[in-house]
Symmetry: C2
Subunit: 340 residues, 2 copies
DNA sequence: CTGTTAGCGCTTTCAG
DNA sequence: CTGAAAGCGCTAACAG
């Protein structure tokens, strides 16, 4: 393994010149630089990132801290798309990417701050983290720049950014979509209360109702913890008592559960009951019927968050929250009702 | 940021003792060790992995080099499962994981060997790599231990392992499955010729045919490059001339293409034509009809390959090729024909 | 333009 | 059991 020393010796210069040559310093004789490169090439030399990292006080790696991936529902590979987006953006920068997957099942989980300190991590992207996660708070309170996905942070630390779609807008759109089609008896399958995403989506629904001079009754809001199974159970229960014209679900996964319950109740979608989702999972275009839902581009979200993080690290960000685009994917699970 | 120095000073010992305490050396006074830990805790000290990596000559990180992930078909998230498996195994070891995603579209791609050298990588897992990849050859020729997935390596380097299902066995099984159901007019939708996986699967089919005293006609083998679209085109073409009783496909993706062609030809699956796949993608249980195929546990494959790599690195491997389990997933796309 | 020197934070002999 | 010292491969002043 050739080191900088070998190159320096072979080229008959000091190692600092070699270092400078490789770091594009201008004050290096062009001929010397060329000779150094030739020799480096010949020796198959390439600067050691680990050493570089240690000696330059700069932190050259960013972390992607992701919770719930390992024990995730296999139908949900959004995390993979986010990862690909992050990777793409980071690999085009000078930074290295380090990945830390958390798993509720895994005990010896170390604190995120410690994880970062150990690796000289200069900034992190947090995904799937709950706002009440103590490690999250701890990390935010360090001065490590962070970008969080799908949660809104409440600290006044200048180094926090966040990326998400505009959840309330998206939610309002899909609620209005149902309202325009004359649905009035809508059941909301919400996720986990007190979650940022849930709050925003709730707000969107309420806005849409208000805009139509309607009132959203609490009894029509069911909290299914973003779980397919839970949604299935709640919808099944509900259907034994009443039959709404539509279920508006805060995630596709929950919509799948609802669809199952509806079908088991002997009802047809969308003829008897309409269903909408949120996320646009891969499977959502393959359900029977295909699910009308809100599409998020997770690859893009990953990319945006990495870009935002790099901006934060270099202290030249314009805005701290960036919204990713969303799109109402109109498919087959909603029926237009007759106006009466 | 507390360093080892701070801890040493605070504890009134030399840094070498602190180092030893943290590395579980036995020759450290138990009381000293305890004091060091207490102080470290108090100071929020945690050893810096980068420095550790540099000073100890040992290589503490393994690489996952993965090709074709970024521009992959979105229906295919096997790479993600492999990744999760690798991550799981590596995170339970003392090693760090570094990921390198290649993309045919991406030019400034650096050689795998260089990638490893730059990061002090002590061993790598290669996924989605083609055997004729020049960088692959280069890496294999270094003495860096490697584990390759789904290809068989031909070098005599003692530090190469490989992991895959037993492709010829699996292929034979699914061919026999069709044969047992009295299919005799079978068209093989093969992948890319000269590919390890393809060769093995071909062998399996041939074995099954031979065992039944049948001959496989070259005219019944169509090479679709593992592409859904290509398979669709070839099957469509073929169906204009002849109508086999079954299509045996070397990947689920190609099976999807075939299914589309069959349906477009106005034929029913499996009533008119049976179809089988290979891989068991998530979608394969959601197609109409559900696809009978060979299931691979990619998470397990990832885990196995990481374990094998760690073994190789520590020079205590028993075998160089490990087979992962496969499973014939019997679903709805094959019909049993009447014996005549 | 180039070389010297002092680290980065840690591990690892080698003495004591 | 403990400490001093050399060094991992590189960067970054600071002189010249």
């Amino acid at each position: 393994m050739a080191t900088i020393k070998d190159v320096a010796k072979e080229a008959g210069v000091s190692i600092s010149i070699v270092s400078k040559a490789f770091n594009n310093y201008v004050d290096v004789n062009e001929k010397t630089r060329q000779r150094i490169f030739d020799i480096a090439n010949e020796l198959n030399y390439t600067p050691n990132i680990v050493a570089k990292n240690l000696s330059s006080k700069k932190q050259m790696t960013v972390g992607l801290i992701s919770s719930g991936v390992l024990n995730n529902n296999e139908k949900d590979n959004n995390a993979f798309d986010i990862f690909k987006g992050v990777y793409t953006a980071v690999s085009e920068s000078q930074f290295e990417l380090s990945i830390y997957l958390i798993d509720s099942l895994r005990q010896k989980q170390k604190s995120y701050a410690q994880y970062c300190r150990e690796r000289n991590i200069g900034g992190a992207i947090l995904q799937g983290i709950r706002i009440d996660d103590p490690y999250y708070k701890e990390l935010i309170d360090t001065n490590i720049p962070c970008v969080v996905l799908d949660i809104m942070t409440e600290t006044e630390n200048g180094l926090i950014g966040s990326v998400s779609i505009n959840n309330s807008d998206a939610s309002r759109e899909i609620a209005e979509y149902l309202l325009e089609r004359n649905h009035r008896d809508i059941v909301i399958i919400a996720g986990t209360i007190e979650t940022y995403v849930n709050t925003e989506r709730m707000k969107g629904v309420q806005d849409a109702f208000k805009a139509n001079n309607l009132e959203l009754d609490d009894k029509h809001v069911l909290y299914a913890q973003f779980s397919e199974q839970e949604a299935y159970v709640l919808a099944k229960e509900y259907l034994q008592r009443k039959q709404p014209t539509a279920f508006l679900c805060f995630s596709d996964l929950m919509a799948f559960g609802v669809m199952k319950a509806v079908k088991e109740a002997g009802l047809r979608i969308p003829e008897d009951i309409s269903v909408t989702g949120f996320d646009d999972l891969l499977l959502s275009s393959f359900t029977q019927p295909q699910l009308t839902t809100i599409g998020q581009n997770f690859f893009e979200i990953g990319k945006l968050s990495a870009l935002l993080l790099l901006d934060l690290i270099e202290n030249r960000m314009d805005e701290k929250h960036v919204y990713a685009q969303h799109l109402l994917m109109e498919r087959e699970s909603v029926k237009t009702l007759l106006n009466h």
